[in-house]
Symmetry: C2
DNA sequence: TTACGTAAGGTAACCGCTTACTCAAGGATC
DNA sequence: GATCCTTGAGTAAGCGGTTACCTTACGTAA
């Protein structure tokens, strides 16, 4: 593999100037077709691949967007579900970028190194999509002074950056409303995640919204608290039952915990959904395969990825445009754990009403 | 966001030449610490982020590696398992690249556009990892004339490029041997994927290896043929049973089909594993959650990603080095569908013996 | 015939870094 | 005191494209 050939060699071989070569490659119009042919032929003879860096330097635009995401702990012992979120976002981002001829550079921040990595990546790209928890708040702020940045989180808006999120609260409101209106439940319990999780907070808020709308009593706090793991969910529900709690429906802060809830209820010889309905949140792969299949809420992960890149590209195109904040609707996925029995269940939008 | 600042501004502000700035950023040694301090201060005051393209142009090295993968059909209606393979590879690649200060550029080839995309990406990177089926053979060949290329496939070696794969055949041999030696089966059926799938072919070959080693009769062809989907697997096994086939063990070409096999056997009122043992291949997420949990073979996807980037970096460092071909071992994952009953099952290496 | 519009294509100045050469100023060596 | 190394730092030539600004040739209208 000899050194890659350059535009100069192509120009020489086809007997034109580099400007002409560049123009032919760029638009291909406005040239005698003889010239164009010669240039194209020379380029292909030489196997010329234009240098991205050179092009990027000259155009002040690398045509690369960066995606920064958190490397959530050790990849996987037995659990590979959670990363799915990130993976789908990556796919979406790739799709949106490729659609306009850009490419996506990915980087996972691990523990301390985040800031450095972020700046290194920033230099190679025209802008960054930064997923929540991949970078400290103030690093994000510093970064966004220098390059276009879109923040992608699962809830709430923030500082001065473009921002995109999914409507967690609306999703949880929708699933709770489903339990109330379709199945007539009035005695519902919320199984929360870690107390410091904003996601869990959002979802609990949605749960409360639904109760309020239905005129039911709104609790001050979640009936049970887990930690977003199946084991934690199981313990929390077991404890709830042990204390004499007997809700007719358990709205779980995520699917993992719902799995745990299922196990705890089974252990207590309670049938789902006959005795107690259970719902989850996230729609991880397993949700479809447990028995009973889990009614849950899906976040539009791929769409989040796509949309975030689109926001970013807009920002790059016009750095002065007003800041944007987008919230994508979540989707209610009705299966059987809520009491429905459809075979291939209907899925409905669950956005803000 | 004003225009990004440059090395010239940093040099001016700190009263040194650009060469000094460049050197301070590069190694940081060999300067009076006063100078270093001034440069660093100026850089941080200005919020300078060195331009990747400029650096790449000057060094003839973008410090970006590309990863080309196939966008397997429509992303997902109800099935999100299969992409997992790619996602894990991406993660692995990212990890290996970041470890040495490179970044990963990803691009999914869709239908026709593959060649163009590949060349565009090639221009922006120092080399490419190309996953099987993301690009036509001759495009790969053309590409590898121009830039360093590592081919990542799930089986067999090929042309002139560096090559990396997982030992499918060995994996299937191991799982079949497990059924024979541990569970004493002598009547085994193989459920193949699409006839034109090399993966399926490899796995069938491994199946036959095991029979041969055990002195059992080796069939000319698979007992049943599916299409790598659950539905197809179900149909194929149902048909096999209808024809009077009564194997004591069904070795499936992948997990999806194993899921189908499970369904078909259940429909026929046969118990798994008591009446018939079933095994899969891939270890998709669901495999752990079906009842009985699926005994299967895991491909080292993350490791494939890591190793492929390492091969690529080696190739970039030394374009003249002899071509390399690496085969990573697969891993037998023993659960219950084979007849084992371990609670947290042992997983053993399943490489070439 | 002349002046002018237009299409085709060339010239060369960047873009923001890196790095091979230089150079100057001290010690160390003899 | 002359010579040689070291160390610290500057000069400027690329790297391979893009593109603003020209030139040239050819029609065409006046």
């Amino acid at each position: 593999m000899a050194d890659r050939s350059t535009i100069y060699q192509v120009a020489e071989r086809s007997g034109v100037s580099t400007a002409t070569v560049s123009r032919v490659m760029a638009d291909g119009r406005g040239f005698s077709s003889a010239t164009r042919q010669r240039v194209l032929a020379a380029a292909s003879d030489l196997g010329w691949i234009p240098s991205g860096p050179a092009r990027g330097l000259a155009m002040r635009r690398a045509r690369i967007v960066g995606l920064l995401f958190p490397d959530l702990g050790q990849p996987s012992r037995e659990d590979e579900e959670s990363p799915l979120f990130v993976d789908q976002v990556i796919r979406g981002a790739e799709r949106a970028a490729t659609a306009v001829g850009d490419a996506v550079l990915i980087a996972a921040t691990r523990c301390a190194s985040g800031r450095e990595l972020a700046f290194a990546v920033a230099g190679k790209t025209d802008g960054l999509v930064v997923m929540a928890r991949s970078l400290a708040e103030d690093d994000i702020a510093a970064l966004s002074q220098r390059v276009p940045v879109v923040v992608l989180a699962s809830h709430g808006a923030r500082g001065g950056q473009d921002f995109i999120s999914a409507d967690s609260r609306g999703g949880c409101r929708a699933i709770t409303t489903h339990l109330i209106q379709v199945h007539g439940h009035t005695d519902l319990a919320f199984l929360a995640g870690p107390p410091d999780s904003p996601d869990s907070g959002e979802r609990f808020a949605g749960f409360c919204d639904a109760l309020r709308q239905a005129g039911l009593r709104v609790p001050d706090s979640a009936a049970a608290v887990g930690d977003f793991t199946a084991a934690g969910g199981r313990r929390a529900v077991a404890a709830l039952l042990a204390e004499g709690g007997r809700p007719r429906a358990v709205v779980c802060g995520n699917d993992e915990m719902a799995l745990g809830a299922l196990a705890a209820l089974r252990a207590a010889r309670l049938r789902v959904p006959a005795d107690v309905a259970v719902t989850g949140f996230d729609d991880i792969a397993v949700a479809r395969h447990v028995r009973p299949a889990l009614t849950t809420v899906r976040q539009p992960m791929r769409e989040l990825g796509e949309k975030s890149v689109q926001l970013l590209l807009a920002r790059i195109a016009d750095p002065e445009a007003p800041r944007q904040s987008v919230e994508l609707p979540t989707q209610l996925v009705v299966r059987r754990s809520c009491g429905c029995r459809g075979r291939s269940p209907r899925a409905g939008r669950a956005g803000t009403p």
